[in-house]
């Protein structure tokens, strides 16, 4: 079973690589969210200070982090929308796989590779850029505070984790529905 799942994932990765140009926008969207999450976590002392000037540092800090996560989730939904488009375009392919007796679990794994890879790629790119930006901000005089490397790591873990989980969760329903369709319906809807 592990072997067949491995092959499904490899097949999914190959398909995702073929469609890489179409995935550029979702990757950029997720990267933007990840960039902001890492930056907000890294620069939280500066964000809180701005908030204190507005009345409540903690409240503004929490709201800013919440919005950064919201941006990340927007990116995850963009990934899921790309996944629905991919599923629709590959409807016949899914039908053929079902007709040849490929287990639904393997087809599901192959189809989920694309959103997971897109979200992970975007999150990693955005998180790394955000981390570098955060660490470099005090050096170029953008903020007065020093940035803790630990905060940057927490931000990167948060950004990558939330992106991938949210992308899987948002893509799961359309993907499962596509896999569960009768082969004939998949073949005729292309």
């Amino acid at each position: 079973m592990i072997h067949s799942l491995y092959r499904a994932v490899a097949y999914g990765a190959m398909a995702a690589w073929r469609r890489r140009r179409l995935l550029t926008l979702p990757v950029i969207t997720v990267a933007t969210g990840a960039f902001l999450v890492v930056l907000v976590v890294a620069l939280m002392p500066a964000v809180r200070r701005q908030g204190e000037a507005l009345g409540s540092g903690d409240s503004v800090g929490r709201a800013t982090l919440a919005i950064a996560v919201v941006v990340l989730l927007v990116g995850a939904f963009e990934v899921a929308i790309a996944a629905t488009r991919s599923i629709n375009q590959r409807s016949a392919e899914i039908g053929v796989l079902s007709t040849f007796g490929v287990p639904p679990r393997c087809t599901l794994g192959a189809l989920l590779v694309e959103p997971v890879a897109t979200a992970a790629a975007g999150a990693v790119i955005g998180a790394i850029v955000g981390g570098l930006f955060g660490l470099g901000a005090p050096a170029v005089g953008m903020i007065d505070d020093s940035v803790q490397a630990g905060d940057v790591v927490v931000g990167i873990i948060l950004a990558v984790g939330v992106s991938v989980v949210a992308a899987i969760a948002a893509s799961a329903v359309p993907t499962v529905r596509a896999v569960r369709r009768p082969p004939l319906a998949s073949l005729s809807s292309s």
Binding site: V47, L54, S59, V60, V74, P174, R177
Partner: protein, 390 residues
């Protein structure tokens, strides 16, 4: 590749294509709903994505509105309806802990115009209560302490209780003033060490209270722009709080001050991130319509080939409107919930409704452009190329 009958959503009514083309808004709406039902997951994802983006904008605007309300109420109480407000060098600020205007230097020493009255106000904090402002004002009733509702809550005093300020026993009288404050006679505030403050200038009845008169008498710069701060080395600055007679005269001083406070929020990290979120929401909308257009090329090819090109645009506009309305409703509710839980000190129904109204103002433009971009590309093509297989 054959075209499936059930793929042509206009098919049931296509026996009367021209009527469908010129059909009512109800027909457009039913077409949009039919397309939403055809790809329900995508519609739900698009609405959810746009709603999240809208919620981010609502959060920012609610916090900005809450801050503006706080600041405007504070200015209204500080100025007390006077046409001129002479502030010290270093200017004035809204103290976030108390929600009261505070000055960081004593009132400017100035000579009022002949016949005018000048009322002195000093500010500080109540001893042992940094979150309650102590305001000393000319004309405050002797032996009384006017305490705002929030100030009474923080001090733990009620109407009629005795409050001791700088050794002087004062009878508490609850007031409707904004923020957390105790207003006492000037001598009591002076005794409590409150020395920083400002002056408010009032003209006698019949005097036109011209800015030139004030500028000449006081020797200070007079401005109606709250963004202007006293120049270095100046004794202070006089704000004209009355509506000016220039082309910006329709904007009151309060409104300008509110805009100044709002810009503080929108230029913060919070404001910048929420702007990015809204941009990404727009990207999601465009992306959804691009996908929709690609899948329905043949359908629109048929419509274009029988002369229904404009209707394609209307269909997408109505669909876009539908998605944005659903996203707006859910995003506004979500944004309110985020502020209520994450930044409850800024949440008020008034601030949230103001935010919802402001966000609603630019959504139609976003919705129209999001639909127009992919449809414009579609309509640039000849019907025959739309009908061809891709």
């Amino acid at each position: 590749m054959t075209i499936q009958a059930d793929e042509i959503l206009v098919a049931p009514s296509a026996v009367e294509p021209l009527e469908a083309a010129t059909g009512s808004s109800r027909r457009l709406l039913s077409f949009a709903l039919a397309n939403v039902r055809r790809r329900p997951e995508r519609a739900v994802l698009a609405v959810a994505g746009i709603a999240l983006a809208i919620s981010a904008a609502v959060v920012m605007r609610t916090i900005a509105s809450g801050y503006q309300v706080l600041g405007v109420d504070a200015v209204t109480d500080a100025v007390g309806g006077a046409p001129y407000w002479a502030v010290p060098a270093g200017g004035i600020r809204v103290d976030p802990a108390t929600g009261v205007i505070m000055a960081d230097a004593p009132p400017p020493e100035l000579t009022s115009p002949e016949g005018w009255s000048a009322e002195r106000t000093v500010t500080g904090t109540v001893a042992g209560h940094a979150d309650v402002a102590l305001v000393g004002r000319t004309g405050a009733t002797e032996g009384r302490a006017l305490v705002s509702a929030e100030g009474a809550r923080r001090l733990g005093v009620a109407e009629g209780a005795t409050l001791e300020v700088a050794g002087a026993p004062l009878t508490v009288q609850l007031s409707s003033e904004a923020g957390s404050r105790v207003t006492v006679p000037l001598d009591v505030a002076d005794a409590a060490g409150a020395v920083n403050g400002w002056l408010t200038l009032r003209a006698p009845p019949g005097d036109p209270a011209a800015p030139n008169t004030v500028a000449e008498a006081t020797g200070l710069v007079v401005t109606s722009d709250p963004a202007v701060q006293p120049a270095d080395g100046a004794e202070g600055l006089v704000y004209s709080t009355q509506r000016s007679t220039n082309r910006l005269g329709f904007i009151s001083f309060d409104q300008k001050f509110a805009a100044l406070l709002g810009s503080k929020v929108s230029s913060s990290f919070l404001g910048l991130i929420s702007t990015v979120a809204l941009g990404l929401g727009f990207v999601i909308a465009v992306s959804t319509f691009v996908a929709s257009v690609q899948e329905r090329r043949r359908e629109f090819g048929i419509m274009a080939s029988i002369g229904l090109t404009d209707e394609v645009l209307y269909f997408f506009l109505v669909e876009s409107l539908l998605l944005f309305v659903m996203a707006y409703v859910s995003g506004t509710l979500l944004g309110g919930a985020i502020v209520a839980f994450a930044a409850s000190s800024f949440f008020s129904l008034r601030a949230w409704l103001e935010a919802a109204g402001l966000v609603a103002m630019y959504l139609p433009a976003l919705g129209i452009v999001a639909a127009l971009i992919p449809v414009h590309r579609l309509l640039q093509q000849r019907p025959v190329s739309l009908l061809a297989d891709h």
